[in-house]
Subunit: 410 residues, 2 copies
Amino acid sequence: MNCEILAVGTELLMGEIVNTDAQMIAQGLNEHGFNVYWQTVVGDNPDRLRAALETAKSRADILITTGGLGPTADDLTKETVAEVFGRPLKMDEVQLARLKERMGPKMTPNNEKQAMLPENCTVLVNDWGTAPGCAFEADGCHVIMLPGPPRECTPMFQLRALPYLEQLCGGVIGSRYVKIFGQGESSVEYLTRPLADSLENVTMAPYAKEGECELRITARAETKEAALALCDPVVEQVKAILGDKVYGVDVSSLEEVVVRGLEARGMTIACAESCTGGLIAKRITDVSGASGVFGYGCVTYWNEAKMGLLGVSPQTIEQHTEVSAQCALEMARGVRRLAGASVGISTTGYAGPTGGTEENPVGTVYIGLSWEGGETVFRPDRRYMRTREQVRRHAASHALDLVRREVLNL
Amino acid sequence: MNCEILAVGTELLMGEIVNTDAQMIAQGLNEHGFNVYWQTVVGDNPDRLRAALETAKSRADILITTGGLGPTADDLTKETVAEVFGRPLKMDEVQLARLKERMGPKMTPNNEKQAMLPENCTVLVNDWGTAPGCAFEADGCHVIMLPGPPRECTPMFQLRALPYLEQLCGGVIGSRYVKIFGQGESSVEYLTRPLADSLENVTMAPYAKEGECELRITARAETKEAALALCDPVVEQVKAILGDKVYGVDVSSLEEVVVRGLEARGMTIACAESCTGGLIAKRITDVSGASGVFGYGCVTYWNEAKMGLLGVSPQTIEQHTEVSAQCALEMARGVRRLAGASVGISTTGYAGPTGGTEENPVGTVYIGLSWEGGETVFRPDRRYMRTREQVRRHAASHALDLVRREVLNL
C-alpha cells in the first residue's frame, strides 16, 4: 500500500521547526512494509490544505496527516479533511469528558472543538496531549490524523496508528537493534550483505548514528514474540560476522553498556580528560544511576593540572610531550589512584582546529586505560576525526569502548 | 513571490534522514521576504518527480529543488526538470574542466553527467562538492536546483541561491541575532511586541533554542551595511527592554561569551561539578582556544571526592547535605584554590529521575561562584527543569550565565 504524509503547519513552512514527524513516520511505515511515495507540507491555509488533500486522496492508499488538531481557529485539519472526504464532524462525548477531566479549570470553550471527530471514525486516544487523533476509510483511502508536536506525534504514531495499520495487513512487526561501534555504515552493509540477501522473512538495514552504526533487524509474524524469535538467530549471525564491534543489542548507548557492566561487576571508574574536556564524565553521568560506579573525574587541560592532580611526571612531558602514550598512561594510573577506582581512563590529544605537531597532527589522541587486570594505550584512527567536535566525540566514544572491550569483555 | 521547495531523494521518503535542507531554505526565504507555500518530498522516481514538477510549475513563482544532482542513474532531477520546463541539457565545458580538476584520477565517465546543465542557465558554482547547481526562468517560474547533502546545500543556498534571488527583487537583507538566556520565547515575544509593532522597515522574530532564545532582527536595504545600520538601533532598544538577559549579539553561545570575556580580562576559570557531571567543562572546552582560560575541572560526584579533592568540610555535608548552598560555595572556593584560578564555579543538585528530598526535590540545583570580587550562590528556578537532561543542561547554562553577569559584567 502506498502512503502519503501530509504535515500541516505554518511553522514548518517558515522553517521555524524541522519536520521530524515526517521522518519518524516514514521510518516506521517503511519498517512495517508500507511504501511512502509522497511527503507534503502546507500551512494553515484552507485553500492550499484542501488542494493538498484532494491530491493525496487521488493518489494514496494511506494518508497520514500531522498537525492542525489544536483548539484555535488556525487549526483546521479536521474540518478540511471532513469536507474533502465527506465525513462530517460530530461531538464525541467520551473524548469531551476526557478533555474536561484533563484540562480542569483551564478548559475554555474553544477547547471543545478538539473533541469534534469524523462520524464513525476509529478514535486514537491521546495520552500525551489534549487533541485526540482518528482514523477512517473513505473512497478507498485510509486517513489517519495525528497531532503535530513530536512528543505527542511519536507515541500516537507508534502506539495508536501503527496497530491500526497492522490490523489492515495482518501480523505485527518485531525488531532488534544491534549497536555497533568502530565500523562504519557502508562497511557494516558490505560485511552483512550476503547474510541480508540470504534472509527470507527477516529484513536488515544499517543506519549511521553520530559516529556509530545501528543495524535494525525486523520480522513480521502473528505476535511480537514470534517476530522477535525470527530475528534472534539473525542477531547471532550478525554478531559472528562483526565480532566485538557489536557493543549491545537493544541498548541505548555505549555509556549505558559501560555503566551497567561496571555495576554488575561491582567495579568503579574514574576519568582524567584532556582533549575530551569533560565529555567522558558527561556521558557517563548522562546515565541515570551512574553514581553507583562513578565518583571522580578530572579535566586536566593544562600540564600543571596533569602533574599536580594526577601525578604525571615532568620528565614524561618533557621527553614525550603531553600528547603521548606515556602521558595518557600516567594520567589513567593517576586518576585511578586518586579516586581509588577499579578502572582509570584518560584522554590526551589535539582536538584542533589549531595545535598539533608534524608527528602528531590535529586529530591525534591517546587513550590510556589502567585497571586491576593491566594497562593499555589506544590511539584511534585519525581519518574519522576531522572537526574539533568529531575529535572530541570519537575520542570519548573510543575511551568508553576500550573499557567495554578490555575491562568488561562485553 | 511564492515559493515551493521540492526535495528529491528516496532516503528522505524512507525516513533515513530528516529534511533539514527544507527547514534551512524555508527559514532563509522567509527572512528574505519570500513566502514558502509548499514543501514536497518525492523519491528518485521519474514519473512522480515529473508530476511534482508539473504541479510546482503551475503554482509557484520560485521553485527550489534539492537533491538528485549526483552522477548515478538514480539522480534524475536535472533531466526531469529539463523535460518539464523545456530547457534541454548541454555540456558546460567550464564545469566539466572544474570537475576533472577537482576529482583527478577518481573521475569516472558517469561523473561527466554532473557538468550537463540546462541551456542558458545561471551556473551556481559548487565549492563544497562535485555537483554544480543552476538557476533559470521559464514560463514565469524561477527554478533553482541545489545539491542535497546539507554540507553542500547550506552554503549553496546561502551564498549562491540567495544572491540570485536578491537580484530578482532588489536590495539585500541584513540581520542581527540577539542571544538571550533566562527569558523564554513567549515572554520575549510579549515584552518586545510593542517595539515590533512600531517598526516599519525592520522585522523581529524570536526563536526558542535549547533552553535559550534568539531574537532575529532583519532589515532590507541597498547594501548589507545599510541594512545592518537599520537593525542596530533596534538592537539597542531590545537590550533596553530585556536588560542583562541579553548575553550577546551575533555570538555563537554563552560559553563563547564567557571564554572570550575571561580571555580579554586575563582571567582564568576552574569548575567543580556534581550534578552537571562534566558538562560545564565540556561546554567551556567546546570553544576553540579555551585552554587560554581553562586548565582544571573536577567532577566530584561522590562526597568523598568533594571533601578529598575540593576540601568541602564533613560538617557542611553532615549539617546541610551535599545539595546545599554551603556545599556549593565550598566547592567553588575549593576548586578555585586547587587550580589557582581567578574564578571557581560549582554545581550540586538532584538531576533525577530518582533522588531528592522533600525540601529539595529533583531539579534542585545550587550553583556556587567564588572570584576575586566576592562569592555568591544561585538556585535556578526548578520549573524549567523536568527531565534529567534538562536539569543538567539548564544548570550548566545558569553556571556560565552567572559568571557572565557577576564576574564579567557582560
